[in-house]
Point group: C2
Chain length 336, copies 2
């Protein structure tokens, strides 16, 4: 029985959508237990709205709440009884196999490193969301809060990302590319130029070279390697351009009667297309390279994204990704 801890108090739609997502997850998968961390009375009230197998959902009381905007290091240090710190400790102590939170990114990233801790050999744990493409999804690694990465970090991101795409997403021999401003080998900034030959030499990945940002949405690579500043820009611009184009298309369709009628006819097809290009379909972003699994879901996550993030944890656990990362990055430690 796999047990996933879930931060019931984190995110814009907590606790309502988080609790609903947990109920949906245990309804779909009879082989898991969800452990909700947060204010007990609040969670109980939400749970009372649903029917579910009582032994599949536990509550661990955590009266303190970390606010958005609270400095992450302080929050982690001072609020020992917050839903986030309690949840991370469940993973640390082996009482849960994974932890999902829609709370403050900074606090999740800091807490994951400080409380759960890094796998031996991992220099920096990257946050790696799946982004939609024309061909399916790609892993964008890193989008975390630690900027100004070194070349050795990027090489590890490529390795961890490859393991994730292979074992969790089922992509054989995933194509790894580094984000660059041109495809020629001599192009790039200092970081990319230094990293490129290291990736080329790296034996355990399928490195296909540079990728220009234009090719990312076309599905030009399975693992998109970049440092966190660039990754953050890519992730947020993806959202921004998508949202703006849709707003403009919808506004355009309301401009006259003819297109209004057309809009009614295309609505179902348009909706299903947009759904396939919606990042929330694919669950949260794992913080890779930690001793246990920590998944950060979007702050605005609704029940569906929470459920998908929980279910994502199952294959992560079943495939023992953390062990595989350790085996790849610190093989001597594993053998010892």
């Amino acid at each position: 029985m796999i047990k996933i801890a879930v931060d019931a108090m984190g995110g814009d739609n907590a606790p309502g959508e988080i609790v609903k997502g947990a109920v949906d997850a245990v309804t779909e998968r009879k082989d898991i237990t969800v452990c909700l961390t947060g204010q007990k009375d609040v969670i109980e009230k939400e749970l009372s709205k649903y029917t579910y197998k009582i032994e599949q959902i536990e509550i661990v009381d955590a009266p303190e709440v970390i606010e958005t905007g609270e400095p992450p290091v302080n929050a982690i240090r001072k609020k020992k009884n917050s839903s986030l710190v309690v949840g991370l400790n469940l993973v640390k102590n082996g009482e849960a196999d994974g932890f999902v939170s829609a709370g403050s990114s900074g606090a999740v990233l800091v807490g994951g490193q400080v409380i759960v801790g890094r796998v031996k050999g991992v220099e920096r744990p990257p946050l790696a969301p799946l982004i939609p493409t024309e061909k399916g999804v790609s892993l964008l690694i890193d989008c975390g809060a630690n900027v100004d990465a070194r070349p050795s970090h990027l090489v590890q991101f490529a390795q961890m990302g490859s393991l994730y795409m292979k074992y969790v997403m089922g992509i054989e021999n995933p194509r790894v590319a580094i984000v660059n401003i041109g495809v020629e080998e001599e192009k790039g900034n200092a970081l990319v130029k230094e990293t490129f030959p290291l990736l080329k030499e790296c034996k355990n990945i399928n490195f296909i070279g540079s990728i220009e940002a234009r090719e990312i949405p076309h599905g030009g690579a399975d693992v998109i390697v970049c440092e966190a500043f660039v990754g953050n820009v890519i992730l947020k611009l993806y959202e921004g351009v998508g949202a703006t184009m849709m707003t403009m298309v919808k506004k355009g369709l309301m401009s006259n009667l003819r297109s209004k009628i057309g809009a009614l006819l295309i609505k179902p097809a348009l909706k299903s297309t947009l759904k396939s290009f919606d990042a929330s379909q694919y669950g949260g972003a794992p913080l890779l390279g930690l001793k246990g699994l920590v998944v950060k879901t979007h702050g605005s996550s609704k029940a569906k994204e929470v459920k998908n993030s929980i279910i994502q944890c199952i294959s992560f656990k079943e495939n023992e990704i953390s062990d595989k990362i350790k085996g790849c990055l610190a093989p001597e430690e594993t053998e010892a």
Copy 2:
């Protein structure tokens, strides 16, 4: 009479679309002359297809052609009789007020700096395209080939970008923001953290703080400051996400009869919406901070973009942007 030199041989659709764009420009504006640089016989053959006022178009023969992928520095040095080098020399010698090219970015950027030369006080000339937003357009500065910028470069980009948006685009007190991974002042990489206080102190710009990539398409600022690597990622991802979404929407609309009929009805409205979100509407990207005006248009430019780029040069010249940049960045030199 303003005279604009145009590289008739540069770009994917040269010389046909370039020559057509030049003819369209002189048809629209009777107060300009266009000087086409390139292989004389080829240009004459293209021109023979159109009717226009003969004194408004000149040809300067330039038999050599710079190929895409040719190392820029070599190309500029060796091909003195290429359409690019000849055109840039016209600007340098004051025989033309501006130069438009859809040719190799690298060669245009290198040639602009080496041949035309920087305005006194300018440390690095940025390439600054206009990008479409929900509210109109914003200037993305820098998207050039010189990466790993210093904070002082970014401050100059902010100043030059403000002058451009004010005098060429007519935006009073343009809002300047720096691309960042959060809006809080303590966020960012080393470059952004060092640049932020300098922009805050800068008296001649309207600095509004950090902008997250998500807000760029919403029109969150008029001048978007970043170093060229990030700028390049933003520019190309803009194109990529837009193109992918439209491909997916169109494919979705063809999925059943109902939406096929709807698609026919919405086609005109959809087309005009997409047009307003198409970067080519707004002409090319000026290379700012040079002694004369050099404009790089997209390699795939068609006649319309070429025409718009030529017309953009007129307001640049009329408003004496290069002098204003000199006055802003090296005031003592101007007074001397």
